[in-house]
């Protein structure tokens, strides 16, 4: 059946609410408003205000309450409207959710899922355009998911809810309106492995989430220029699927990491370091990177476009590492 990414996420939430009475959704405007991005539209009517729980604008409070509810045996899905607002809940995410199991010597599990929108590209200015999933991937104790496809948008949530530890799911805002075919019975998917979205032999384009569509388009353009690109969708930023990354690079001997986050200290730096550490002698070229410009994301359309990874920049970077200057 035809589905949008938004509908796929909603279907995943509905699956979870139907399958487990311990599951509930909580966050700002998830109920009466239907979700800031309309993800939870209709769920309040279907499941009631106890399980589709509107919260005040208290990110630290309701994220912490989600942690406590998880400790108390529930399976909360906490929606933070955007990654930008998650900064107000960093204390709870880092000091409690990520640390409790270890601090307690293995006694207290936090089976919590936090969903949030991430990314730029919609002229929302600096404070609504962050891509901080790479930041969160720095934290031991968290699992970081970045669904890019309809199957993952729907299926990652259930697997995340079965995980005994805190899982953060980042949904790129530009993906919600992407539509495609999704099996009506699409179910849980694994949250451990990366996936090859386009096989190829000349260069590995490594990306995730919101930049996957641009990378796939870039791969098509590269094909026209005689470069056979492999597209690897990381799917999970922590833990990284090292085996899949290294297998792809061992095959193509060249790689470009495409990440909407900033270059300095970002997940692209981590990926580049791992490839260099583990596949240095397999490489025929330095690891390339296409990231966002190191500026707070500007409002003006042309300036924002210039700041973000684009098909053109991805193609150019791939041509550079493959020695195909076009």
């Amino acid at each position: 059946m035809k589905s949008s990414y938004r509908e796929a996420v909603r279907a995943g939430i509905r699956d979870a609410l139907q399958r487990d009475p311990r599951v509930f959704l909580m966050g700002e405007d998830v109920g009466a408003y239907g979700g800031s991005f309309a993800v939870s539209l209709g769920l309040l009517e279907e499941f009631g205000p106890e399980r589709i729980r509107d919260t005040p604008l208290s990110e630290s409070g309701f994220v912490g309450a989600g942690i406590g509810a998880a400790l108390g045996g529930m399976r909360p899905i906490v929606e933070i409207m955007t990654v930008n607002f998650s900064l107000l809940a960093l204390d709870q995410i880092v000091n409690n959710a990520a640390s409790l199991l270890h601090m307690s010597g293995g006694q207290f599990h936090v089976p919590l899922v936090i969903r949030m929108t991430t990314g730029a590209g919609r002229q929302l200015g600096a404070q609504h355009s962050h891509s901080l999933e790479g930041w969160y991937a720095h934290i031991p104790g968290l699992r970081i998911l970045v669904p890019a496809t309809l199957e993952d948008a729907r299926g990652m949530l259930w697997t995340a809810l079965e995980d005994p530890d805190p899982v953060l799911i980042f949904e790129h805002g530009s993906l919600y309106n992407v539509t495609g075919e999704l099996d009506d019975g699409a179910g849980p998917v694994d949250i451990d492995t990366a996936a090859i979205r386009r096989p190829g032999g000349d260069v590995s384009l490594i990306t995730y989430g919101g930049t996957l569509p641009a990378v796939l388009e870039a791969a098509e353009q590269l094909a026209d220029a005689g470069v056979d690109a492999e597209v690897l969708d990381l799917r999970t930023l922590r833990p990284l699927d090292d085996d899949a990354i290294l297998a792809s690079v061992a095959k193509t001997r060249r790689s470009v990491v495409v990440d909407e986050g900033w270059r300095s200290g970002g997940i692209s730096a981590e990926l580049s370091a791992r490839i260099t550490e583990n596949a240095f002698y397999e490489l025929d070229a330095p690891v390339g990177r296409v990231c966002s410009a190191e500026v707070p994301i500007p409002y003006a359309r042309h300036m924002e476009a210039a700041a973000l990874p684009s098909v053109e920049r991805i193609v150019a970077a791939a041509r550079e590492v493959t020695g195909n200057g076009g």
């Binding site: 005040p56 630290s60 309701f62 942690i67 406590g68 108390g72 601090m103 207290f108």
Partner: protein, 333 residues
């Protein structure tokens, strides 16, 4: 806050009084020994002792049942002990031994114990409040008749998480008792220097939370107030807030030169030592003999001696286990 115990309060029988006295003594003796052990470099990291404030934990925890939930702060040795965590496991934790209640991964500020529903042990001021709200929410959504008690200092009142948590608890009518241990100083910053409104019960009441202040040096007053509040919370009357007016006799931590308060102020509060107050009152009322007192002291000291022995003989977790407990080793049920 000066003077003796509230004249209207008496232990309901000598046994009750002696029990409360013993509970406070157990905490006092354990922490006095902790300070010695810190000076002897047996304990490292930060160490925050509760000496002077024991009546609060003793009185409040007396009012709970085994299924209830406790969330505390980084000054939580006494809460852990009185909740039922063995003194040996607490001390072994501070020694960094695998026999500690958190295998030595937590230390003094992060005591946790699943067996007694003791959820720490939080070193971020006010960080435990949202957690407690969630634990109470889980109880309410699951229809369990439990009460969550959340301890925090008056310094937490300045944090946003305090306000967010009281609002959420009241909005959702949760079974939670907020216990504010007002010892007048957030580290070295006096309440009057950090809050425009120093009536903390009034602040809590502004969230439609039933709130009142209690003499935190009077363990009988603490227990009576806590029982009243816990019973109300358990019966569905929604969140309650108690401000316990108390005082920390010792420094904030082992690194605190106490430049921010006068010695005379400390001495004045020491005259209202909660242990001395109850002891004197019971002696005056013929509820405590000299032999009783000797017996209680000896009991507390024996427990501490055994705990030290337990911690001293503890073992170190193998370094190969370093990366355990970052992620779960089993799937959730």
């Amino acid at each position: 806050m000066t003077g003796p115990l509230s004249p209207s309060l008496r232990p309901r029988d000598p046994g009750h009084g002696r029990h409360l006295l013993l509970q406070m003594l157990r905490v006092r003796r354990l922490e006095e020994r902790c300070v010695e052990l810190y000076s002897a470099a047996k304990i490292r990291g930060f160490l925050h002792v509760y000496i002077g404030e024991e009546a609060v934990a003793a009185g409040v925890l007396e009012s709970l049942s085994a299924d209830d939930t406790v969330v505390a702060t980084y000054r939580e040795h006494g809460h852990a002990l009185l909740r039922g965590v063995p003194a040996g496991a607490i001390l072994a934790e501070m020694y960094g031994r695998v026999e500690g209640c958190c295998r030595g991964r937590g230390g003094s500020m992060h005591l946790f114990d699943a067996a007694t529903n003791f959820y720490g042990g939080n070193a971020i001021v006010a960080g435990g409040l949202p957690l407690a709200v969630g634990l109470a929410l889980a109880d309410k959504m699951s229809g369990r008749p439990h009460v969550t008690v959340c301890f925090f200092g008056e310094g937490a009142v300045a944090e946003g998480e305090f306000h967010e948590s009281l609002n959420l608890a009241a909005l959702w009518d949760l079974p939670i008792l907020f216990c504010c241990e007002n010892n007048l100083y957030a580290m070295g910053t006096a309440l009057v220097r950090s809050e425009s409104q120093t009536d903390l019960a009034l602040k809590a009441a502004s969230y439609e939370v039933s709130a009142w202040a209690v003499d935190g040096m009077d363990v009988l007053a603490v227990e009576q107030a806590a029982r009243t509040a816990v019973d109300a919370v358990r019966s569905g009357a929604g969140p309650h807030f108690l401000e316990f007016r108390t005082y920390r006799f010792r420094a904030h931590s082992m690194f605190d030169p106490e430049r921010y308060r006068e010695k005379a102020e400390v001495v004045a509060w020491q005259a209202r030592d909660p242990i001395t107050l109850l002891r004197s009152s019971m002696e005056e009322n013929g509820q405590l003999t000299a032999d009783d007192w000797t017996q209680l002291q000896s009991e507390a000291e024996s427990e501490v001696a055994a705990a030290v022995k337990f911690a001293e003989s503890g073992t170190l977790e193998p370094v190969e286990d370093l990366t355990r407990f970052v992620y779960s080793e089993r799937r959730a049920p």
